[in-house]
């Protein structure tokens, strides 16, 4: 049975990864009809939501699990997979368990998590630092210190795309790394405006101010263009999630040799358990419903998990898979994961509305040198105070 699957995985590494799923699904005798929408989740989600609410749902669709599909589930537009989950014992397999919790509403499971994405990485170009004659930094502070040297060598210290989600993502990464998960959760889970406006977070905005200066000359839009600058050695580093790793891989670079990755910016090695999940809208056609189940099983299957996550550069959601083939950086992630040093990420904590406001703020912050860190923090506190 043909099943249309929509997602926004269109960059090189991503497309290669998703092809693994498709292959596995096609092997079950069904057919994966690819509905990639380019751009980013921001472009694709409106289309997906319109189609679901418009009564023309696809067979399955990617969302970041968390709150993006919350209302669709509440409206009863999504299929619940509690039975299948029980049959295949997802509860036991999925690690960390928060992943499945994010898919659960009123005790029912509505989505299939497929990977763990962690934002908290900085990717460094060994070549750039060699060119500048400074050692590859081991944490954010060293990186900031190395900035002038890189600049002198004609490099852009920090590569950063000009899309708002990258900029606010960077802020969150800095926050998690500098003030630690507890304060992070106080801000995003408890939505404490006091903390958000407090001295702890002020340090974060100070760091963001540094990042802003380091990235001032970075003139690209897309995250993978920024990654390309790191790969090519024109830029020193990039704060980006683990999906960036796919690009390094496609470019044939070797972790540790050509590039270096620092989880938690080398300050606070914790991994957020955000990630992607597939949701399955309710369909009338029983054939397709069956295909949906098949797809859900495939997504959770060991082989598909391994193949997909290797290509994608993310971590598998099953605790029982063997990733001996994983590279350096992935292994680092796996270790942290195994140590249980995980935390929730913003997708799960704040609504898209708040995310949008944050994006707006950070995009303004990064492009407006006259907006001081203090002023930006005050507005940040306001947004957090008003968040739902």
């Amino acid at each position: 049975t043909d099943l249309e699957v929509t997602h926004w995985w269109t960059s090189g590494g991503e497309a290669a990864a998703v092809a693994e799923f498709a292959k596995a699904f096609d092997a079950t005798g069904n057919k994966w009809v690819d509905g990639a929408i380019a751009g980013s989740g921001d472009t694709a989600r409106p289309v997906m939501i319109s189609r679901i609410t418009g009564g023309d749902p696809m067979g399955a669709t990617q969302f970041n699990h968390g709150r993006q599909a919350e209302e669709l589930v509440q409206e009863g537009l999504m299929r619940d997979f509690t039975e299948l989950a029980a049959k295949e014992n997802w509860t036991g397999l999925i690690n960390p368990p928060t992943l499945l919790q994010n898919c659960t509403l009123d005790g029912k499971i509505y989505c299939v998590p497929v990977n763990i994405h962690s934002w908290q990485w900085i990717w460094l170009s060994n070549k750039a630092f060699a060119d500048a004659g400074v050692p590859v930094p081991k944490n954010w502070d060293e990186f900031v210190a190395a900035g002038p040297a890189l600049e002198k060598a004609g490099k852009i210290p920090l590569a950063m795309g000009k899309q708002a989600w990258q900029q606010s993502g960077a802020l969150n990464v800095l926050m998690a790394a500098i003030v630690g998960p507890e304060t992070f959760l106080k801000v995003y889970k408890d939505k404490s405006a006091d903390v958000a406006g407090g001295p702890e977070i002020a340090k974060v905005f100070k760091a963001a101010d540094d990042a802003r200066k380091l990235a001032a000359k970075s003139n690209v839009q897309n995250w993978n263009e920024a990654t390309a600058m790191v790969i090519g050695g024109q830029a020193g580093g990039q704060i980006m999630g683990d999906w960036a790793q796919g690009e390094f891989q496609v470019a044939g670079q070797v972790a540790g040799k050509d590039y270096t990755c620092l989880p938690g910016l080398g300050l606070n090695a914790v991994i957020a358990t955000g990630g992607d999940a597939f949701y399955f809208p309710k369909l009338d056609d029983p054939e397709k419903s069956k295909a949906q189940e098949a797809l859900a099983s495939v997504l959770m299957s060991k082989e598909a998990q391994v193949a997909f996550n290797l290509k994608k550069g993310s971590l598998p959601v099953r605790g029982d898979v063997d990733l001996t083939t994983a590279n350096d950086c992935m292994k680092k992630g796996l270790e942290i994961l195994a140590a249980g040093k995980t935390m929730q990420w913003t997708d799960e904590l704040i609504s898209p509305d708040t995310t949008q406001q944050m994006n707006d703020l950070m995009s303004e912050f990064f492009s407006t040198p006259s907006l001081t860190a203090e002023a930006a923090q005050a507005r940040f506190a306001e947004i957090i105070g008003a968040a739902d």
Binding site: D42, R45, P46, I49, S50, T53, Q68, E70, E71, L72, E75, K162, Q163, A164, N219, Q221, S351, P352, D353, T355, Q356, Q357, D360, S363, E364, F365, F366, S367, T368, R379, A386
Partner: protein, 297 residues
């Protein structure tokens, strides 16, 4: 003598009414209904899906305290005024030049008009590239030896709207020129002759006689340009995505993003309502002038 009674009003012209059903439905259900629906839901706290939980003016308060919205409004105002004036001026000047009984008129006209055939997405992509400092004009000029030359409108928050304007004008002035040309061709030839006999220089004839006579054309053009300006979206998305920062945000983009991306329909509807309101302020007096007075048939 069988006196027929006056036929009932409903069945008079019944064919015309049947034929107008698509129009009536569109007008009532889509434009009027959609507008009212939007306005009503702008007073709710609808998120991903519309729901009738009224929160009064909350959405509007938030809207008008959002820096991004204020920037959007300001940008649209700047872009709107400039694009209106410039496209009228450029369009008229081009039309006037083409009206000089020149050779190759067809060629020139086609050249000025062809960008209109291209979508804003295409326009935005091309100009994004030409204005890109690494490859485009800046690069060229620098490689000619002017090392300090800077021309990076799309990367400079202060002038990004002008960068968009360049592309917008490129795409749109051709149509304006066409309209103006049609208007110029409609001017009584005797007026030109009278002005020549009176010894009035060409530019003065245009300025003081012809332009005032082309009022209806200018009004039509104005409406077309204005309706395009209000909808400005694709071009910005394709060219800058609203950046750098939010320096080139526009209201239509704000609406779109809050409705679909931020999943805050209420906020999006509130912004839409403000846009509709401003449209109404522009268009109602115009519609009154254009269609209110004259009748026929």
């Amino acid at each position: 003598m069988a006196d027929r009674t006056r036929p009932s009003g409903l069945f008079k012209n019944v064919n015309a009414k049947i034929a107008s059903i698509p129009m009536i439905l569109t007008a009532l259900c889509v434009f009027l209904g959609g507008t009212l629906w939007t306005v009503v839901y702008s007073f709710t706290d609808s998120k991903l899906l519309p729901r009738l939980r009224f929160v009064g003016l909350d959405q509007y308060e938030r809207l008008w305290s959002a820096p991004r919205w204020l920037v959007s409004i300001e940008n649209l105002a700047v872009y709107g005024v400039l694009s209106l004036i410039l496209s009228l001026v450029i369009g008229f000047v081009l039309a006037a030049l083409l009206d000089q009984k020149i050779r190759f008129e067809n060629t020139f006209r086609t050249i000025f008009l062809y960008p209109f055939a291209l979508s804003f997405v295409v326009t935005g992509l091309v100009w994004q590239w030409i204005l890109n400092p690494q490859f485009g004009i800046q690069h060229i000029v620098r490689s000619l030896g002017f090392e300090s030359f800077t021309f990076d409108p799309l990367y400079n928050a202060d002038i990004v709207m002008y960068g968009i304007l360049i592309a917008g004008l490129w795409q749109g002035t051709g149509l304006v020129m066409c309209l103006m040309l049609a208007g110029l061709r409609g001017i009584d030839e005797d007026i030109w002759k009278a002005a020549r006999v009176d010894g009035i220089p060409m530019w003065k004839t245009y300025l003081f006689i012809v332009i005032p006579m082309m009022r209806p054309v200018f009004i039509t053009t104005l409406v077309i340009i204005t309706s395009g300006i209000v909808k400005l979206y694709d071009l910005v998305v394709a060219q800058t995505g609203g950046g750098p920062g939010n320096a080139s945000e526009v209201p239509a983009k704000y609406v779109y993003e809050f409705m679909f991306r931020a999943q805050n329909l209420g906020q999006g509807f509130a912004a839409s309502t403000m846009m509709l309101l401003s449209v109404a302020i522009i268009i109602i007096p115009w519609a009154y002038l254009e269609f209110g007075g004259k009748r026929r048939g």
